[in-house]
Symmetry: C2
Subunit: 320 residues, 2 copies
């Protein structure tokens, strides 16, 4: 099959072997895939992954359990062992023996076919288009914040970072909190948030005042965390939201003195994300910067690394 | 009056002017004072404080509001302005204009007299001796953990650090959690915890397994925080509990990947601490390593810096 492989180099493969689904797994014909920061980090050495990249997708089940055949699906990326203490505590997404779609021990979705346990699948409702459904994974990650933090509807939040995740977080929180301020470096990205009724400010104009009850750090940098510490009020909460953060020279004394709570946040609830897409709570389509065919997948990855782009979509199978 | 002053050097003063209580404040004859790590840090430059050191005390009100005169008291250290937004939100202990007893803008308790707003005072019940009452402030700081974190009685916790605060935290948590493991470097300190029914282990024998639901980091070092990250289970909580933590080279990626919550924790509820002392929930007396007269206060500070000592008490006024 056609696939984008990372084997130390990023290459287009025309003869990559299609995955063979194990017992309980489904074989899925990928329709669209999204490129995420994690995919880019992997090509810089993150996770030491080798294989087909990609974990954000919408596709159609072509083989597997009868009840799933033919269905249009999105899928959760963590495939737990189901046996270990963490799995038995319901913490399968943290299972130490897990494989992770396109990230760890399991080929991804920048390919014509991919395989996932049926338990990971979620059917896409008819009203949600492919270009929206492909956002289920990152939108779920953004909505995980709402599951983890006990917000009051009258609370506000400052979101730091106008990348893909920062924008989705701002959009998701917009529906449950009184007001959101998105701080970013790109006028074109802030404009999208502004069109959704979100207050925005350029990072160079932002004066942190240690006054925000909630700060979402979606910058993915140690400097972003320092800014978060200067933005949050005493006894406030910082949600740390980025798949990969570089080590940095950090002083945690303000966390203690100001009694800050820092909440690490990763993958999230697909059901919440699919509902938000279905109910049009979040309009993800303006986040799409470009479409590429799978055969141009390497070029698509280069485009996704350009900070002026937001979400780059790979069209794997063009629908009739 | 007799006082231990830090003026760039640590000196015994025989002629230090007694504090003059402002409106609403009480003048307190100090009976006993405790030396804390923060006092030692101040003599290394922390907070840039100059004046009479010390903030842990028990004393007797000699001047001030009628209802307090003659009472034996302990006192909260933060003196908020009472006017600012943080104060009006009930966050007076985080007030930016606050003075802090013996730490910031207000002389401390290593002296014959000290002054505090009457609102900061708590009467000591008859059954609680002076040597116990002097622990009210650090025990309150330890019990703040119980106020901040939503424990279940069946939970356990690992406490890292067998210093004063680590021991008090282990003792306080012992009463509300199923089991506590205290990890420390000093056999003599661990023995005290063991006598209270707390499991203990020497740091050199401790193998972190990313398996503890709650970890209390009372090491006060960046290395301690790294150890906490290797000790806590995915989705678990680290309570960061030290007045001063040095900056260090930290990788926050595990916080995100394992969805760890980090809770900064500082001063705590005096009422809880006084009740625990009164009800004999916590026996603090074994923590006292040495007593010194106020006139030997400089020597007492040297003794407190010796890691083999736990709590050093300054006897300011010997009771008849």
């Amino acid at each position: 099959m056609l696939a984008i492989e990372y084997n130390g180099n990023l290459v287009l493969r025309k003869d990559y072997p299609a995955p063979r689904p194990a017992e309980g797994e489904a074989l899925i014909a990928v329709r669209k895939a999204g490129i995420c920061r994690t995919d880019l980090e992997i090509t810089r050495g993150y996770m030491n992954f080798r294989g087909v990249l990609g974990h954000e997708f919408v596709g159609q089940v072509v083989e597997g359990p009868d009840e799933w055949k033919g269905k249009r699906v999105v899928g959760e990326v963590n495939c737990p062992c189901g046996q270990c203490p963490l799995c038995s505590m319901g913490l399968g997404k943290h299972c130490r023996s897990r494989t992770v779609l396109g990230i760890q021990g399991r080929g991804g979705v920048f390919a014509e076919f991919t395989a996932l346990p049926a338990a990971n699948l979620h059917e896409v409702p008819p009203g949600v288009g492919d270009d929206e459904a492909v956002f289920a994974e990152p939108l779920a990650a953004a909505m995980q914040i709402i599951r983890q933090v006990r917000f009051m509807p009258t609370d506000g939040a400052v979101v730091l970072g106008d990348g893909r995740l920062g924008l989705l977080a701002a959009m998701a929180l917009r529906n449950v909190l009184r007001d959101i301020l998105l701080v970013g470096k790109h006028a074109n990205k802030l404009a999208i948030a502004k069109a959704c009724g979100i207050k925005t400010i350029l990072a160079k104009d932002f004066l942190p005042r240690r006054s925000a009850r909630f700060v979402i750090d979606a910058t993915g940098t140690a400097e972003g965390f320092s800014l978060a510490l200067r933005t949050v009020m005493p006894t406030g909460t910082i949600v740390l939201k980025s798949t990969y953060a570089s080590p940095g020279w950090l002083n945690l004394a303000p966390v203690v003195i100001d009694e800050i709570t820092v909440v690490g946040s990763r993958c999230g609830p697909f059901a919440d994300a699919i509902n938000a897409l279905k109910d049009r709570d979040v309009n993800v389509l303006p986040l799409i910067s470009a479409h590429y065919d799978l055969s141009d997948g390497v070029t698509a990855m280069v485009a996704a690394a350009d900070p002026s782009n937001i979400k780059v979509i790979i069209d794997v199978a063009r629908q009739p």
